[in-house]
Symmetry: C2
């Protein structure tokens, strides 16, 4: 069984199968997306899909990792950790797969909130921790355990990805909250 | 139909019915807790329970509001908004009903993350916003829209309530993360 868990680069057919799964989830939601339906959309046999993923949860894990990794990659050109984190929060919130999952199958995000860090969360933590170490070496970021600082920033950002829209009304706009997030991150990192 | 939505103070029998529901949820989880079982445990008829709550979701809403409100009340003696927020985060994480829901019926928290603010979230926001206004008047808290500041603090705290344990290992302890939370809140509020 191959999987992004063992093989971080998916090229060729597997990538196309994930495209088929993504389209299916966007159309009918996760619960109604089966390996059979993914195979049908990809124009291959169920066995072909099954050779890559034993079941839909495994496939979904790889699809989410591919999608969120791509979102994080789109912000790679943003200068500075704070601006990149804010850009990543905004990009995740606007991502169509993310929006669809939150609307239709929100229970899919629970394991990554309550049970364990996902691969994309690890990626973001690694990027943040590296930027914090670099900033500390340059005297631009306060001293302290860079792992704890990075994890605290990501924990603080969770709510802004998942729940910002529940805090928006005529007394506080999304832009107000994003400005607050940038301030929180800036001040938290300042020497 | 009475409900905390309309009647914030529940005394006497309704309080005892919520106790019965709470014990049942702790025992068997939310999904297996029925109005019939709550009535049996409370030693009253199903109709008596039904007169207060049309269904289990309505009862659960009142139970959660009562429970989290009590948690927030236990931190009322803590001086300073930052220390009180950190104490509230720690108390929620340790609350047995909260732990049980997160372990057995985590989908119950999704509406309050993804759809709308719950009554206890409103209470916490009101307390935070009031403390921010007072601090601003005294020159101890930075200027800015106190509603947006309060909501950003609560959004930042969400991850520390729900997901801190997923970020704890030998590279960062819970105490490290709580110290980071206190620092985040302190620096965010500083003038």
């Amino acid at each position: 069984m191959t999987s992004l868990r063992h093989n971080e680069s998916l090229d060729g057919p597997q990538d196309a199968y994930l495209d088929a799964a993504r389209a299916c989830i966007l159309d009918v939601g996760w619960r109604r997306t089966t390996l059979t339906e993914v195979a049908r959309r990809a124009g291959v046999s169920r066995m072909t899909i099954y050779r890559s993923w034993a079941d839909m949860p495994t496939l979904l894990g790889d699809l989410m990792t591919r999608e969120w990794t791509a979102v994080v990659a789109t912000t790679a050109g943003t200068d500075g950790l704070v601006d990149r984190m804010v850009a990543t929060v905004r990009a995740l919130r606007a991502n169509e797969l993310f929006v669809r999952i939150v609307e239709v199958d929100p229970e899919l995000v629970l394991p990554y909130l309550l049970a364990r860090r996902g691969r994309s969360q690890e990626l973001i933590l690694t990027i943040a921790e590296e930027a914090i170490r670099t900033g500390q070496a340059a005297g631009e970021v306060r001293k302290g355990n860079p792992t704890a600082i990075a994890r605290a920033l990501v924990l603080a950002a969770h709510g802004f990805v998942l729940s910002a829209h529940t805090m928006v009304d005529d007394r506080a706009s999304e832009a107000d909250l994003d400005a607050e997030l940038a301030l929180v991150l800036h001040r938290t990192l300042a020497p």
